[in-house]
Symmetry: C2
């Protein structure tokens, strides 16, 4: 630490009781994201233990003109939690604020601090005989504060909604360093502007989320998984429609997988096995959940598949007969990202379009990419039930990956221009951070950007909250 | 019309193609609410046909310093759609913007203009084989724009959420007279601040909602109703817990009714019949819905009641055997307001508390009222599944109603102080308007009011959008 840095943080050490890191080696893990895509600098990393501590740190930052960069599990994919290179920021890590403050089984709510790891929230709910449905790949290390600040999605959105829809109330430290106690466990409250939803998804640019009241649900008795072969995305859509009408809220996942995705998983994962004798251009993983019994879930799922087979929506299908088989089928979907990464670099997109237009979008996007970058291989999969595709693009077979990776901006533009033409979103569940900030500004109407800027200016007039994220400075 | 008024609106007539009312008799219905509780004045009532028209009217108002008062079906209960007495406002009635712009059965969305009557939205959904669940007493005349601007609730919130949770996207005319096209039919979109939810529930104080994309659902095959006698609100809560664990999302209504409520309905409605031989202090109406068949709904509901009887949660119960019986049971709940009104004036409260605390709240509120106003009769009913009670208070038997009505502010204070102590809401589903504006300011923390004011100032810097509603000027 330089003398200047020491002076710069001396005052900070005195204003709160939590941990303060200033040594370069201590700060290092907080100054880059988990994939190492972004790197920044900071004068200190503060780890407060209470909302009052967070408020004290923020007040100190406000008085000293120091940017505040809130950070949860640091598992984001858009660079939203990494400070810039300026070195003036204080990273506020919520990791030590990880208590479950309350759990109310009759109100079906859990009140948790922002630093609670998602898996711990799930576990606390389960221990009380309840179910907390938010579930993502990073659940073992991401925090509830980060999930709310990016409005995280995951595999249960179809039935239970994203982080926003699971949240009833928030505690937030404002840019002025005041604590707003909005920890209401109410299903109905129409007493003014919806501050809660403004802070959710704001990626820490309007304040620091320090705690939240989240909804709980009855614990399902059984979850059954089917894997089916479908001739096209349009057939998958018609199957979705049928499944929603037959299973209703018993339909808890509906995931699309392309033939290439399955091929990559079979190639890279020794344990993976093709469920069918013949290859199909597309597959769908369907999950049915029942509150009462496995028998009911099985009956509903098998009846659905029989009807779909009759209607020629599916060419083949299998229902997992055991938990191990269910895991194996889910693994075919969940291991796609890793299998594709093992092949080499690829260019990622996290997009959403209206569900009804998914088939047309996939077709046009594949055609546009083939025209602009002959031979590239789209690796298409995602949460079809939410209209959310992870439309990743691998280089032509045999072509060097490093050269291809340099085309990222151009490939993004081809895909995202089409997303915009389809009335879609260029960041369905990962947020903007710095990764998609400027693209979002290009695709959004000026009136929307002006409204966003007016709100930012009103709530954070000195622009110290996570500057450069969501909106360009 | 005075010469001054004529001059004041001449320019307005030229800027848009819709209807403009300036004669006193034409304007009269727009200058008071349906119950006649508030009366105001305006220089004109504009009835635009398009969002561009609304924008033109708002720009004219901005240029001429005229307040804008948006109005839908004018069925609100908090005075949010009535102009003040100043006479400078332009009422913008959305009534003529009542088209269904689009309906997408695969995306499960309907795009409607703000002036669409709620019942018409339900009907359009049903015609397409889908279900639009928002349902309230005023559904025959309230509009979707008003429902969104007040974040309306109703009888299906337990399963489907309130207006906010049913909305995917909005079109809004900003205070500057620009059209923000946020009509996205997406289930996932994490590209910046949540403007949608900021405009929802803002009661027209941040802009004019002109259209919305709403969620649709599969149409249920059957709805079954049971009416049960329970010894206490706490028993009702334990029954709710059991019902949620047995029926899950098949539980679509859970309404509490006190003995006095039932008595009033039986007294005032000739057709009403007590379902039970013996009177009970409390009742619950339970509705179970099934996507597939009535038999399944009946099986689930009867199993629930048997289990609840076994556990001594309910003393008696009946399941409607026909549609006519189901209507008769629902009428016992739906006619309470009218039966109470027929008795004379009463003092109303639309409150929410955490569901788990409903029993304690009712007990303490009854005791506090008995202490402060001996002999008053609380008429307690509401959406127990949402923690939302309509906690109305009638005068002591035989006491003059007019004198009692003058105690409104004092009675409100006793009930709302307790709501605040229970961490509840003083307006669960009716909004603030002018009715609860000052009370809300008293109960909310200064930091929350300051945030709301900062947002209002940022988006409507000249304070012309529905001034005096939600926030004091």
């Amino acid at each position: 630490m330089t003398d200047e840095q020491a002076t710069a943080t001396d005052g900070l050490r005195g204003v709160f009781s939590g941990r303060l890191l200033t040594a370069a080696e201590d700060m290092a893990p907080f100054l880059t994201d988990w994939r190492g895509q972004w790197r920044g600098a900071a004068r200190a990393v503060a780890q407060p233990d209470t909302a009052a501590d967070v408020a004290a740190v923020v007040r100190w930052c406000a008085a000293n003109g120091a940017p505040v960069v809130p950070q949860g599990g640091n598992t984001g994919l858009s660079g939203g939690a990494t400070p810039d290179a300026g070195g003036r920021a204080v990273v506020v890590s919520l990791a030590r604020m990880n208590r479950v403050r309350a759990l109310d089984t009759l109100n079906n709510t859990i009140t948790v601090e922002a630093g609670c790891v998602l898996k711990a929230v799930q576990a606390a709910a389960a221990e009380a005989g309840r179910y907390f449905p938010l579930s993502l790949a990073s659940e073992g290390s991401c925090t509830i504060g980060g999930a709310l600040s990016t409005n995280a999605g995951g595999v249960a959105v179809l039935r239970y909604g994203n982080a926003r829809e699971l949240c009833l109330g928030l505690e937030v430290v404002t840019p002025a360093g005041e604590v707003w106690d909005g920890l209401r466990g109410l299903r109905k409250d129409n007493t003014g502007y919806d501050l809660r939803d403004l802070f959710i998804g704001a990626e820490g640019t309007l304040g620091v989320v320090t705690a939240a009241v989240m909804k709980l649900f009855p614990a399902p008795a059984a979850r059954l998984v089917a894997f089916v072969a479908v001739p096209s995305p349009d057939a998958a859509l018609r199957l979705l429609d049928l499944a929603q009408n037959r299973l209703g809220p018993g339909l808890t996942a509906f995931e699309l997988v392309s033939e290439l995705c399955l091929e990559l998983v079979l190639k890279r994962f020794e344990d993976a096995r093709d469920p069918f004798a013949a290859r199909s251009p597309w597959y769908v993983l369907v999950e049915a959940t029942d509150l009462i019994s496995e028998a009911r879930a099985r009956e509903a799922l098998e009846a659905l598949l029989a009807e779909a087979f009759e209607a020629e929506l599916i060419a083949d299908g299998t229902v997992a007969a055991s938990l191990a088989q269910a895991r194996a089928l889910w693994a075919l979907r969940e291991n796609i990202s890793e299998a594709q990464a093992a092949e080499g670099k690829n260019i990622k997109h996290d997009v959403a379009v209206p569900i009804s237009r998914i088939g047309a979008f996939i077709e046009e996007a594949q055609a546009a990419l083939a025209r602009a970058f002959p031979g590239v291989r789209p690796v298409v999969f995602g949460h079809l039930g939410d209209g959310n595709l992870h439309f990743n693009v691998s280089p032509p077979a045999g072509q060097p990956h490093e050269a291809f990776a340099k085309l990222r901006a151009e490939v993004n533009t081809v895909v995202h221009d089409l997303v915009a033409a389809f009335g879609g979103s260029i960041s369905a569940e990962h947020g903007l951070g710095v990764l998609r900030r400027d693209e979002a500004a290009r695709y959004k109407a000026p009136v929307e950007i002006a409204l966003m800027r007016a709100i930012k200016q009103a709530i954070d007039p000195h622009g110290l909250m996570n500057p450069g994220k969501v909106l360009a400075p």
